[in-house]
């Protein structure tokens, strides 16, 4: 046994997969719809698409459009946006927990109706498994907001075959898509991130609650409106109708600097976070940069061969040496020069005359 066993994994985390064919799970994964009415209007959504396409453009290789970065942002901003999801007559952090609430028993009538109407997680087997699993460690069975994807495995990589120490064709179910419930205080923090300090009076004693990563919904509403207004003032046209060059000019406007920091950061999240969060569609961001993404349960060391006394590695992506097809060409001159500018005045800076690649065949 060199990895977590499939049987014990199913016993705990994969009850759903035992009951539901894997193909149906895959369908459910692709159809994880938004949990409530989308936060961004259709116009705002198009604007986010156009703006993030300027951050990571599509050219010879895919960019933010193909990765679905706008979908990532839509999902981030939409979670927990029901006004009173737990039907207690007030808007509070508890709504964030209850927002997609209440499968099986324990949920309020209004939250049950919400779930049914949205058609989210409509696989009976998945719901039953979620109930069983989360009942073990949370207050009530509930489908949580989309803050923390589940674990341990996404099903993108297989188990190792213990006998051959090679990848098997046995893939675990995707447990990333079963999001983890928030505890009471985590819900308060995320309420503040989404809706600002006023929505989280419990944090009134913390100056950090007025920082840049808080009140995201308002920042988007205001920031997107400002992009549109800047576009119309400068060019007399809607932002989405401008040429890419003019769009970049608009986004460089100093009045947009603080919002663009947020938007660019979210573009990185939407490009390179696990696809279960709504972006990085089909792992397109990871493929773009040659990045392995999540590799469990296979990983990069497949076992230890007692006969040879050596670890067994993947031929395509080894752990202790470069990829077989990699060279020693290095950074392009202009990126190298940029790094020189960036760090050239740092303490101890040295440039070396004869860089080389240990372990790479010339």
């Amino acid at each position: 046994m060199t990895a977590i066993g499939r049987r014990q994994f199913l016993q705990w985390a994969g009850v759903a997969a035992a009951a539901v064919p894997v193909a149906r799970l895959a369908t459910a994964q692709e159809s994880t719809e938004l949990a409530s009415a989308p936060f961004l209007s259709p116009d705002e959504y198009d604007l986010v698409r156009a703006a993030t396409a300027r951050v990571i453009p599509s050219d010879a290789t895919p960019g933010a459009l193909e990765a679905g970065v706008a979908d990532y942002i839509q999902r981030l901003l939409t979670m927990g946006s029901s006004a009173d999801a737990n039907c207690d007559g007030r808007r509070s952090a508890a709504d964030l927990i209850a927002e997609t609430a209440a499968v099986a028993t324990g949920g309020s009538a209004c939250a049950d109706a919400d779930v049914a109407a949205r058609g989210v997680f409509d696989e009976a087997g998945v719901l039953a498994a979620l109930s069983a699993m989360f009942a073990r460690f949370s207050q009530s069975p509930r489908v949580p907001p989309l803050v923390f994807a589940g674990g341990p495995f996404s099903g993108r990589e297989p188990f190792v075959d213990a006998a051959t120490m090679q990848p098997s064709d046995d893939f675990p179910p995707n447990s990333f898509r079963r999001f983890v419930p928030l505890n009471r205080v985590q819900a308060i923090a995320w309420k503040a991130r989404l809706d600002g300090p006023d929505a989280a009076p419990e944090l009134a004693g913390n100056p950090l609650v007025s920082g840049p990563q808080v009140n995201l919904r308002q920042q988007y509403r205001t920031g997107l409106a400002l992009i549109e207004a800047t576009s119309r003032t400068a060019f007399g046209e809607a932002f989405v109708d401008l040429t890419p060059a003019r769009q970049s000019q608009v986004l460089a406007n100093p009045s947009l600097a603080s919002f663009m920091r947020v938007l660019r950061g979210h573009t990185m999240e939407g490009m390179f976070a696990a696809p279960e969060y709504g972006g990085n569609r089909d792992g397109i961001g990871w493929q773009l940069i040659g990045y392995g993404g999540d590799s469990q349960p296979l990983g990069y060391t497949l076992g230890f061969d007692e006969q040879t006394g050596e670890y067994v590695e993947r031929a395509d992506r080894p752990n202790s040496r470069p990829n077989p097809d990699e060279d020693c060409v290095g950074l392009s001159p202009r990126v190298l020069n940029l790094m020189r500018i960036l760090v050239g005045n740092q303490p101890g800076f040295r440039e070396f005359a004869a860089p080389f690649c240990f372990g790479v065949e010339p």
Partner: protein, 577 residues
């Protein structure tokens, strides 16, 4: 006894209602103490501020718990999964008493989940040197003086702790090399080999080790509490690459949660209540009678016990002493030393850009390093004869995180790049700050200073409405001189390893996850807070079982020493000490 628990927020036997010992915090010290106490038939309650992310941790059936951790950068590195969220629990920082402390998003933020900080660590567990336990004497004998520093000898020596080191390595599943190639020539004598053989080394380790060896240094296999073979019912590590900063998806990391705490839970003598934040100890006349916490419903609950153990990290332990004595000097603070002698490790970071891709998303974050800059003689029994500064062990690493890389370009580099005609996409594709970047991190010894301290902030409060810890901290010339001495030598190693260029990164005084001091142990009640076994001098049923009792900080990762001391302290409690 009924296991597993079916009560929300509780692990273990829910029928337990009388506890011999309450432990505050489920990090490496608290977990280790819980196992020793339950083995000795004591009933233990562990209170953990964070959530539980090991489904089935208390299930006596076949198979290990299933972690809800994953190789998921967004969740673990951007969204504080199982970690201290600065919106909920900020800390304030100031570099001197004379200036105002400001809220800071990361003053040594640690874990908030069952397993504590020993979840997200990459589990590096070297031992301290023998000379560390008599460092004040050794410095005095060498005529080396450091005004303002409060060096002292520990109230125990290496030989006394050695059997507990052995047990800590066995319980944690330590993999390493005790002798021959790859062993640390500066490590002190061991009575037992590592229980597991060394790990598969990652590429960046081999690249930097080649450079270090070519300059005459002694690269080592870095000891780690991660299974290199199946061990103790847990599988071997597959080198998934998301290690430092990440909970383990397959339980091959020897976190206290899945090693000692799980055994305590399965004994039927231990209960863990999670999502329970301890707000104060209730004390009267030199005795603690109870502890109060806020649970996940927001309710305040009080629980009593015969004895209490603080294991919530040095900053939170000291804070609790102050919160428990409003208007007074702080619990057990007749010496005036509660919260003082706070130590981190001053991390000197050499950064190199390489031609080849280093693939940091494979491997255990750190699998090698060297100890030549620790400043001790081979064998670690004495200071280096040449009088070189006391630095620390060096870790070889790189960057595995793509979102972090992209955000760094966005915040640090965008306008420079635009001027140079380099796009964000170009940077992500060529990846100078991730795939072609290597680092050496020196975990250098911090001098203890009584002026470096934790107290309560007068203005800022946390989500529980409590005053947050205020950290007052400035580096001593002791560690700054070591950094200046060794930094250029680390840059030389980058060149010898093949780098294009290299430099010393900005000193990060607070981002280290290593924290020690605040409840210093010693024999003299006037010069220490805890006795040589971690019991408060002034409170006979209150103990500390984490890094707060450390007298000095050494130049090695602290966790193995935390576990060894916790095992020893719990054994003392269990045997009537």
């Amino acid at each position: 006894m009924t296991l597993p628990s079916n009560v929300a927020g509780v692990l273990g036997d829910t029928s337990l209602d009388r506890f011999d010992v309450v432990i505050v915090g489920s990090g490496p010290g608290g977990c280790a103490a819980a196992q020793v106490l339950t083995q000795n038939d004591l009933n233990v309650l562990v209170l953990e501020a964070g959530n539980n992310y090991f489904v089935g941790l208390d299930d006596p059936g076949e198979g290990m718990p299933v972690p809800l951790f994953g190789s998921d950068e967004l969740k673990l590195s951007e969204r504080y999964f199982g970690k201290q969220d600065p919106l909920l629990e900020p800390r304030t920082f100031r570099a001197a008493e004379s200036v105002a402390a400001l809220a800071n998003p990361d003053v040594n933020n640690l874990g908030r989940a069952v397993g504590g900080a020993w979840l997200h660590a990459d589990m590096k567990i070297p031992r301290f040197n023998a000379v560390d336990f008599r460092l004040a004497s050794a410095l005095a004998e060498a005529g080396r003086e450091f005004p303002g520093a409060s060096f002292a000898d520990w109230p125990l020596d290496y030989a006394e702790l050695e059997p507990w080191y052995v047990l800590a390595e066995q319980l944690s599943g330590a993999a390493g090399t005790a002798s021959g190639p790859g062993s640390d020539p500066f490590a002190s004598a061991r009575s037992e080999p590592y229980p597991l053989p060394p790990h598969n080394r990652m590429y960046v380790d081999l690249v930097l080790a080649n450079g270090a060896a070519s300059l005459g240094y002694h690269p080592i296999v870095y000891p780690a509490a991660i299974n290199s073979r199946p061990y103790d019912g847990r599988p071997a590590c597959v080198n998934c690459g998301f290690c430092s900063g990440y909970g383990c998806p397959n339980n091959s990391k020897g976190s206290g949660a899945v090693t000692t705490l799980r055994k305590a839970l399965l004994s039927g003598r231990c209960q863990v209540r999670y999502n329970c934040f301890v707000t104060r100890l209730i004390a009267a006349g030199g005795t603690v009678t109870g502890v109060e916490y806020v649970d996940d419903a927001g309710d305040h609950v009080t629980v009593s016990a015969d004895r209490f153990i603080l294991a919530a990290s040095p900053i939170e332990d000291a804070r609790l002493c102050f919160l428990s004595d409003p208007g007074g000097p702080g619990l057990g603070n007749g010496s005036g030393l509660v919260g003082r002698n706070l130590m981190f490790h001053l991390q000197t970071i050499a950064v190199g850009f390489f031609r080849q891709r280093l693939h940091g998303e494979r491997g255990q974050s750190v699998t090698g390093g060297y100890s030549d800059f620790r400043g001790v003689a081979p064998g670690g029994e004495a200071l280096a004869a040449d009088g070189r500064p006391l630095g620390g062990i060096i870790e070889f690493g790189t960057n595995s995180e793509a979102i972090f890389e992209g955000k760094t370009y966005v915040t640090e580099l965008l306008s420079l790049a635009q001027q140079a005609g380099v796009s964000l996409k170009d940077l992500m594709l060529e990846s100078p700050l991730r795939d072609r970047l290597a680092v050496q991190i020196m975990q250098a010894e911090d001098a203890p200073q009584t002026s470096n301290r934790v107290d309560l902030d007068p203005a800022v409060t946390d989500v529980y409405g409590l005053p947050v810890p205020r950290v007052t901290y400035a580096n001593h010339a002791f560690e700054l001189e070591a950094s200046q001495h060794y930094g250029p030598l680390m840059v030389d190693v980058m060149g010898a390893a093949g780098a294009h260029m290299a430099f010393i990164g900005p000193l990060d005084r607070l981002g280290t996850r290593h924290v020690m001091g605040t409840l210093r142990m010693g024999s003299e009640p006037s010069a220490s807070v805890c006795d040589p076994f971690g019991r408060f001098h002034e409170i006979d049923n209150l103990y500390c079982a984490d890094g707060a009792v450390f007298v000095t900080s050494s130049g090695y990762n602290p966790t193995l020493t935390i576990i060894a001391l916790a095992l020893r302290a719990a054994n003392r409690i269990a045997t009537g000490g």
